[in-house]
């Protein structure tokens, strides 16, 4: 029997190659903007942070998705129990009603999550590290705005897609259903954009005035939740043209009026609003006033920011 072949001992050596200068690409300002945007997405969803940072955003996203799911399940159940077409006959809430039903949850989501994108950077002084890089204050706030808008769009659209798939799956002929209702898709996408732009802008504007997330959140919750009963009561008390204008200050209704115009159908929560009588042009102009003016103010607050 031959002796086993001698094996060479395998050893590893770690070399310290010292400092290596970076010789790769430098992408400039565009890379900076993308980095702020990506970081904004991660902050909004609590990614790369502890479990506590994830609780609120994912709770709200799950809550909104579950509303879409429940609406789909109810429509499916009615369809199965009452036969084909019974869901439509029962006039169950659908795509056009979703944002009216979920608006307060969308606004609460914005009120609780959006301040984290701006307040913490100023409170912890990290903003000074952004502004000494190839990123301006305008770049920073625009990227943060786009990041939260993207998250808001996901939160707004996801339940609508769940509802659409649920309604199609519940129909005896899903393809026929989709062919008959395909126009709902651009409508709910557009109405979702209106909701998201409005909530994002107001939430970030309020956040730009304080370094404390809690202050911004409490203010926004007050703004969205308290103005609704207050304006409804005052508008019905006063009535007439003045009542209609007071009703316009119901901040939760402003984007829902736009949703109604897009779908050509009045939502449950705006059906009693006197503001509706002012007409579509006024309602759309009012919506743009409540988005463009805050956007300009927000931009103005960051445009000339220096560390």
């Amino acid at each position: 029997m031959s002796a086993p072949a001698p094996t060479r001992a395998t050893t590893g050596t770690v070399f310290d190659i010292g400092y290596q200068p970076y010789t790769g690409a430098r992408e400039g300002r565009g890379s900076g903007r993308r980095a702020v945007f990506k970081d904004g997405l991660r902050i909004s969803l609590g990614l790369g942070r502890g479990p506590r940072a994830k609780v609120l955003p994912w709770f709200f996203i799950a809550l909104l998705a579950s509303i879409g799911l429940v609406m789909a399940l109810v429509a499916g159940a009615v369809e199965r129990l009452g036969g084909p077409g019974s869901a439509a006959e029962a006039n169950l809430p659908s795509h056009s009603d979703f944002y009216g039903i979920a608006s307060i949850i969308l606004f609460l989501f914005a009120a609780v999550v959006a301040p984290e994108l701006l307040c913490r950077d100023r409170r912890e002084g990290t903003i000074s590290l952004y502004l000494v890089r190839p990123v301006t204050g305008s770049d920073y706030v625009l990227a943060r705005w786009l990041a939260f808008l993207a998250v808001m769009l996901v939160a707004a659209w996801l339940p609508q897609f769940i509802l659409l798939l649920g309604l199609a799956a519940g129909d005896p002929s899903p393809t026929t259903y989709m062919a008959a209702h395909w126009l709902d898709i651009p409508k709910f996408l557009l109405a979702g954009i209106a909701m998201a732009v409005y909530a994002t802008t107001l939430a970030l504007l309020a956040s730009s005035f304080t370094t404390r997330r809690a202050y911004a959140s409490v203010f926004l919750v007050g703004l969205f939740v308290i103005t609704a009963p207050f304006t409804i009561g005052l508008a019905s008390e006063i009535g007439g043209k003045a009542g209609q204008w007071i009703s316009m200050f119901n901040l939760t209704n402003i984007p829902v009026h736009v949703n109604d115009l897009i779908f050509g159908k009045v939502s449950e929560i705006t059906s009693e609003a006197p503001a509706r009588e002012l007409g579509g042009t006024v309602l759309v102009a009012w919506y743009f006033a409540w988005t463009i003016v805050p956007m300009v103010v927000l931009w103005g607050r960051y445009r000339r920011l220096t560390p």
Binding site: A25, G28, T126
Partner: protein, 305 residues
């Protein structure tokens, strides 16, 4: 940029905030190496750094950094690093994640940013702790993260604002070692802003002294060392006769407590001291070279420019 040209130049640079003149017709030229920017609080150090970074527009005068106007071309900031004095670190994220993000902000692609973040944390001594949230770090570790974020994108020039603030003596020494390493090993030029003369003296090649918004001194550290060199002597007897003997030899001498301080201590002074001691029959108890504190530079107008 031509090789050997100053990395930062300022010509008659003035910055006014309303009635307050923060920087007054400052002519500054910073070559490669480690330069100390010395000055008391309110001397204009932070304003100068903000002007160099293009964060403020000069009221009058001009500034050029790496051959570019930093106000008009903010892309040049991608080749600059800045370590602020104040707290600026996020508490919730890890050092690795934070430095990666800072590298991407400076223009590095994501994969390179991750590699650079890990390398930089290794060079600043935080590699083992890189996945811990920054909020749990000690003051010394936070200062290292602050330095790391200034270096992560491999800048050509880095501005360090009071890097030893809040550190204990050991931490301070470690930080100054890192600052020296930043230039000598990494090849990154440094502007070290500080009010601690000892830090600047031990770390820098050149010094710029600001006072009331004006540049009152600037030059090589060696020049200041020479200018501030003195000899301290103590004798047991005949102190007055020794002073007279030294003055006859043209040596500037001043009483300093129980001893004497001799200015401008070059080699020839030691011969004069020896001869004067013999002539005055003054038994020598102690003789030692000493340095005048750089603090005195703050109170001396003019000087070398």
């Amino acid at each position: 940029m031509t090789p050997g040209a100053p990395l930062v130049t300022a010509s008659r640079l003035t910055k006014q905030f309303g009635e307050v003149v923060a920087l007054n017709e400052a002519d500054i030229s910073i070559p490669a190496g480690i330069t100390g920017l010395l000055g008391e609080n309110g001397a204009g150090k932070s304003t100068a750094i903000k002007l160099f970074l293009g964060l403020l527009r000069p009221t009058t005068g001009s500034v050029s950094v790496l051959g570019e106007n930093p106000v008009e071309n903010i892309v040049v900031r991608g080749r600059l690093g800045y370590m602020p004095e104040h707290d600026c670190l996020p508490t919730q994220v890890s050092a690795a994640e934070f430095l990666t993000h800072m590298a991407e902000l400076s223009g590095l692609p994501p994969s390179s940013a991750r590699t650079r973040a890990a390398d930089t944390l290794r060079h600043t001594g935080l590699f083992e702790e890189r996945y811990r949230a920054i909020g749990g770090y000690s003051t010394g570790m936070k200062q290292r993260v602050k330095l790391g974020q200034a270096l992560v994108h491999d800048p050509a020039f880095v501005f360090l604002d009071e890097p030893t603030a809040g550190l204990d003596p050991l931490g301070r020494e470690d930080m100054l070692t890192l600052v020296r390493k930043t230039h000598r090993e990494f090849g990154i030029s440094v502007l070290l802003s500080s009010h601690l003369m000892a830090d600047v003296e031990r770390t820098c090649d050149r010094i710029i002294v600001l006072q009331g918004g004006r540049v009152v001194q600037s030059g090589e550290v060696g020049h200041f060392t020479k200018e501030t060199a003195t000899v301290f002597i103590e004798v047991d007897l005949n102190r007055e006769r020794l002073i007279a003997a030294l003055e006859r030899r043209g040596v500037a001498v001043a009483a300093d407590g129980s001893g004497l301080t001799i200015e401008g201590a070059d080699e020839s002074v030691y011969d004069h001291v020896r001869d004067a001691l013999v002539e005055a029959e003054a038994p020598l108890r102690r003789m030692a070279p000493r340095r005048r504190a750089l603090a005195e530079l703050f109170s001396r107008e003019g000087g070398t420019r």
